[in-house]
């Protein structure tokens, strides 16, 4: 007996899903390469975390170099109509070298995360939890409820969530996401509400949160973070803004981001300026940029090249920092990814920590 009947069954199950779902989201470079929106592959309309049925199908049929047949049953993340789960595990071997110090090399468990959604009213209302279960003790990253309108053109989210502001990169140490700039990334959720609109090519989100990175509220000030995105199949462009009002002083940020597909290469670009008045006078005015090229060499093979720029104080000359990354991402089979790369940081000569060289090999399992 051959596997052909099962493969045929799988194709019948999966192809309609792929053909029907062209309004969607994914990891940013995948979204740009495919023309989808983030919410196409993630249950979170702004991306990241648990994958949708489409996201799981995409991972099996479009992301992996080889699809291992699982017979008639296909993993979609759905336990039943009302409950779905997912997860990510990242482990790596990392080498770092900072001038004038000994190099380090170590095996690390970067993170283990599990996601669960209770779709209490399918397509309309779901409760979502993103829990980091490793390394060390557990941390709740996101926990919220989302109510969608009947025709899915707007939603309201309430709870603890990541904030909308430009591209949500997997690399949490990217200049455009670190605490020194916006601090908006997938390690810094906040508590509050988000309102989102999805109309044709347009997406918009506005979140109102405590502005304390999910810590206790200390004053009446709130954080407002939002973005407006126009998405075409070949390109997209967006504006993002954030203001965190606090007794110690307001922090504000503005960003412009864009994506473009040229043949097999997906390009991401983001420019943002930050003004943090909670810091000492004369500091807290940063500029950060990202340019990322992703070359889809073949199905399952992606080569990523990034250039990042950080001006940590626009009032001061000669203090800029840069970071270059070359990362090869191989997805040999569904739900397994091997990433290997090198990051080279450059900065002022008198700051050794700004000259970090980092090499890594990462095993990423997800479902």
């Amino acid at each position: 007996m051959t596997n052909r009947p099962y493969r045929t069954t799988l194709r019948y199950l999966l192809l309609p899903l792929l053909l029907l779902a062209f309004e969607a989201h994914a990891e940013p470079y995948l979204a740009v390469q495919t023309g989808f929106k983030c919410g196409q592959c993630h249950v979170n309309p702004t991306g990241g975390g648990e994958r949708t049925v489409f996201g799981n199908v995409f991972a099996q049929t479009q992301l992996a170099a080889t699809h291992i047949d699982t017979g008639g049953d296909v993993w979609t993340g759905e336990i039943n109509r009302f409950l779905s789960i997912g997860g990510d595990v990242r482990a790596d071997f990392e080498y770092t070298k900072v001038p004038h110090t000994s190099s380090t090399d170590a095996f690390n468990l970067e993170q283990g995360r599990v996601y669960a959604s209770a779709n209490v009213i399918p397509q309309r209302l779901f409760i979502y939890v993103d829990e980091q279960v490793a390394p060390d003790s557990a941390l709740n990253r996101e926990a919220y409820g989302v109510y969608w309108s009947a025709n899915h053109d707007w939603y309201v989210k309430a709870g603890q969530m990541y904030l909308p502001f430009g591209f949500r990169l997997q690399d949490q140490s990217a200049f455009i996401q670190i605490g020194q700039t916006t601090g908006i990334n997938m390690t810094a959720p906040d508590r509050g509400m988000e309102f989102g609109v999805e109309r044709g090519h347009w997406d918009a989100q506005l979140a109102v949160t405590n502005g304390t990175a999910a810590g206790p509220e200390k004053d009446h000030g709130k954080q407002y973070s939002g973005q407006l995105i126009y998405v075409e199949s070949l390109w997209r462009v967006g504006l993002a803004a954030n203001i965190n009002s606090a007794a110690a002083g307001n922090k504000s940020a503005g960003g412009l981001f864009a994506g473009l597909r040229t043949g097999p290469v997906g390009w991401l670009g983001q420019v943002e300026v930050i003004d943090d008045k909670s810091l000492a006078v004369g500091t807290g005015r940063e500029l950060a940029t990202l340019l990322e090229a992703n070359w889809r060499i073949a199905q399952g093979h992606n080569l990523k090249l990034t250039h990042e720029y950080l001006d940590p104080n626009r009032n001061v000359s000669n203090d800029a920092q840069t970071r270059y990354s070359l990362v090869y991402e191989l997805t040999p089979i569904q739900y397994v990814q091997i990433r290997t790369g090198f990051r080279y940081s450059d900065g002022i000569p008198q700051a050794p920590a700004q000259h970090l060289k980092l090499g890594f090999v990462e095993l990423h399992g997800f479902f």
């Binding site: 770092t96 601090g183 810590g215 007794a247 473009l260 000492a280 000359s317 002022i348």
Partner: protein
């Protein structure tokens, strides 16, 4: 997509790629303009200024800075010492962030080493982690008493310290609303306090929104005031009974003084509101 559309996209992406690293001319090791008597490259040694300049400022403040700093821990030069030494960890309140003289019982060491039992991840989050030699220097500083020196403060703070003994920061902040139980109040000064002046008169806590039935403008709250171990420039004010929802005022008498007998001069007060027990 039209050709002009492509040109706009390419221009946006090209704009993101501009820029090279700075040459560092006129800057100290933390990228700040050099000033007479300040800045410059210093090797890592077991004193607070060196640790601030070589670890906290260049590495930790990428996240631990500003109002949204994780766990409220701001590690820039003006805040770090007051929020570290003798102050309970927010993640594990039974452990001090820095327990002077005891690195193994200092939560910062556990977080830097990734010791089993910590909450959350090893620091710096996501790596690269500090080499053990760097952690050993921090351990050495803690073992030696986790002292702060005037030289460790920023230039602004140093100038203030020379000019006038004063309150540097408080936790909770003045005017803040705290949506959690407040086990202790932290007041940090810009110099070492003469702890012999601490008593129930020089430091008081009162509830200022007392119910009308109490017939008083402010109701005193019994407290215990201590100086955190190893941090003579701060005081910890612990209410004898848990603070219920309400507005509170801390008052420090102007007679409180530093070790050079420089007094505050005038009474210092700050208020905060507890709104945790809904």
């Amino acid at each position: 997509m039209s050709f002009s559309g492509y040109k706009i996209m390419v221009a946006l992406l090209a704009a993101a790629a501009t820029g090279c690293a700075g040459n560092g001319n006129g800057l100290d090791a933390n990228g700040n303009p050099t000033t007479p008597g300040g800045g410059g490259t210093t090797p890592l040694t077991a004193d607070f200024k060196s640790i601030q300049d070589n670890v906290f400022t260049p590495i930790c403040t990428k996240c631990h800075i500003g109002a949204g700093a994780p766990e409220g821990l701001q590690l820039d030069a003006d805040h770090s010492y007051a929020l570290l030494v003798g102050v309970a960890s927010a993640e594990q309140p039974t452990v001090s962030r820095v327990a002077a003289g005891n690195p193994d019982n200092s939560y910062i060491i556990r977080k830097l080493q990734g010791t089993a039992g910590i909450s959350g991840g090893q620091m710096p989050l996501g790596g690269p982690y500090l080499p053990q030699s760097t952690i050993d220097v921090i351990r050495q500083w803690i073992t030696a008493g986790a002292q702060q020196s005037v030289a460790a403060m920023s230039l602004d703070a140093s100038v203030k310290a020379v000019q006038h003994f004063n309150v540097a920061t408080t936790s909770p902040d003045n005017g803040s609303i705290v949506s959690m139980v407040v086990p202790q109040i932290v007041v940090a000064f810009n110099g070492d306090l003469d702890s012999t002046l601490l008593n129930n008169t020089t430091v008081t806590l009162a509830r200022t929104d007392a119910p009308p039935s109490m017939d008083a403008a402010a109701v005193p709250v019994p407290i215990v005031t201590t100086v955190p171990a190893g941090n003579l420039s701060a005081i910890l004010i612990a209410p004898r009974t848990p603070l219920t929802n309400g507005t509170y005022r801390v008052t420090l008498q102007g007679s409180l003084a530093n070790m050079n007998a420089q007094a505050l001069g005038t009474d210092y007060s700050f208020t905060f509101t507890v709104d945790a027990l809904k």
